[in-house]
């Protein structure tokens, strides 16, 4: 198979000009870091960071049957989202596994927008269309939107200087159509870092200007452009699952520890029966967080041992720059999936001790 050249986003050149080290990430040319992963991580925890996340997919579901379709395809209760609010949810399959994790934006009962993982956009589109009837129009609108994530404790005050709508008026998961630096778009109080922050949707042709204005306005408050490297360490400290690593079609929502977003009481949805059965019987394995006791960094794919017997595989692992521990996630047999369980991670042929700990590893002060 000949590798396709990676796709660019409306901000690829902007990121390169700012010193971004560009890599091919799931078929997209994106910055892994600008100056330093650790400095960018720290900026988001203490001040603010700006990410290009335009590779994310956007799928519009419109028509009289839009809400009913989303209700049938997802585990959370989209019926409970007021217009102008968003919700974290999962597209489930028959076995209660994860087709994708998504954010559902409700613009109205007849118009919902799903923000999906870049690498899953085509799959999700086909999946949603396969289940749609004539009452619904399902459209991939990814190319119509650039997406910027402004994250960190000072994100709100930076955005306040430029947005026509005061960002403080937005509650978590609320969104509003507004203009930022004169650029029309949608501002949502969402993110993937464990900090307060905003995601800003705008037209691709305006994205470079908006990115530049935000950097300029935020610089004196410690805002830095940030890459995928810090995005990953930030989300892992917050124990936010990464699709394809921490969950996929073969892991159920209960195993992945996402039961809190499963609304059985809302009625029928794909995978509901399987999830009810698993909830009653108890899952055989659970995703848990661990921290290293011995020196060494657990990485995705490393084997996890209990009493020298293979018990699981690290799904995500890295240093946690804020928690100052080496951390990770792993599916363990349910009997061992308790806080305090002693495990070992196989690192270059040696067993390094680790311990199961509660997640998230990091929780911001409110």
């Amino acid at each position: 198979m000949v590798a396709e050249p990676p796709k660019t986003t409306p901000l690829t050149e902007t990121c390169r000009a700012l010193g971004g080290r560009m890599i091919d990430f799931a078929g997209w040319l994106l910055p892994v870091q600008f100056s330093s992963v650790l400095e960018e991580h720290q900026a988001v925890r203490t001040a603010a960071g700006l990410f290009d996340v335009s590779h994310m997919g956007e799928i519009e579901v419109r028509g009289p049957g839009a809400l009913a379709l989303v209700q049938r395809l997802t585990c959370n209760d989209a019926g409970q989202i007021p217009s102008g609010r968003a919700q974290y949810s999962v597209l489930t399959n028959d076995t209660g596994g994860v087709v994708d994790d998504v954010i559902v934006y409700r613009r109205g009962a007849a118009e919902l927008l799903l923000v999906v993982n870049a690498s899953n956009t085509a799959k999700d589109l086909a999946w949603i269309r396969d289940h749609a009837d004539r009452e619904v129009e399902v459209t991939d609108v990814s190319a119509r939107w650039a997406l910027l994530a402004l994250q960190g404790p000072r994100a709100s005050e930076i955005l306040a200087d430029l947005a026509a709508t005061p960002p403080a008026a937005l509650r978590p998961f609320a969104f509003a159509e507004t203009t930022v630096a004169g650029v029309p778009g949608v501002v949502a109080r969402t993110g993937y870092t464990g900090e307060d922050g905003f995601e800003i949707f705008c037209r691709p042709e305006a994205a470079a200007d908006l990115f530049g204005r935000l950097i300029e306005t935020g610089r004196s408050r410690g805002l830095r452009p940030c890459g995928l490297g810090s995005r990953d360490t930030l989300r892992l400290e917050a124990a936010m699952r990464l699709y394809g690593n921490d969950m996929d079609e073969t892991t159920t929502l209960i195993e992945a520890g996402l039961e809190s977003i499963v609304r059985f009481e809302k009625g029928e949805f794909i995978g509901r029966d399987a999830l009810l059965r698993q909830r009653a019987a108890g899952p055989a394995r659970r995703l848990v967080g661990f921290e290293m006791i011995d020196a060494g960094i657990a990485r995705h794919g490393y084997r996890v041992m209990i009493d020298s017997v293979a018990a699981g595989t690290v799904t995500s692992g890295s240093p946690g720059p804020t928690v100052k521990k080496n951390i990770g996630l792993v599916y363990l047999p349910a009997v061992h999936a308790q806080t305090g369980s002693a495990i070992a991670v196989e690192i270059r042929g040696r067993e390094a001790r680790a311990s199961v700990v509660p997640t998230p590893f990091y929780k911001r002060a409110r």
Partner: protein
């Protein structure tokens, strides 16, 4: 700035795996080049051989890890480990700050002084990374 613009001292020898070797009598000091530390990014962990253990030219003798990547250290020359830079255990970021000075990795009693002659000079190494990054 192109990737070859880092500083590559003329009195060192260089490997294709981006280590440097300084030879003083029969003792060789080994470290990572400016290019290596820059490509890795923030170095957060170093695993080194124990004093007295043998190393073989071209074979791995340790590991450095940045936040995102794991990279082997390949011995530029054969011999026996005389000393490891213990400071790096607590402060591996020194490799990023001072790769040719405080950030040295290990000292080796060289088994064969002729081996170093087969490594690249600074000029050759600079050319090599220019080509590798294009």
């Amino acid at each position: 700035m192109s990737k070859g613009d880092g500083i590559y001292p003329d009195d060192l020898k260089y490997t294709r795996e981006h280590e440097w070797l300084a030879v003083h009598g029969s003792v060789g000091t080994i470290g990572l080049t400016h290019y290596a530390q820059s490509e890795l990014g923030d170095i957060v962990y170093v695993e080194m051989p124990v004093v007295g253990s043998p190393v073989v030219a071209g074979e791995d003798c340790g590991t450095v890890e940045s936040v995102k990547a794991v990279s082997e250290i390949f011995a530029p020359a054969s011999g026996e480990i005389l000393e490891v830079n213990g400071t790096l255990t607590a402060s591996p970021e020194i490799i990023n700050k001072d790769p040719y000075g405080e950030g040295w990795l290990v000292k080796v009693k060289l088994a064969d002084l002729k081996e170093a002659a087969g490594l690249m000079s600074a000029a050759e190494y600079r050319k090599y990374i220019e080509e590798e990054s294009n």
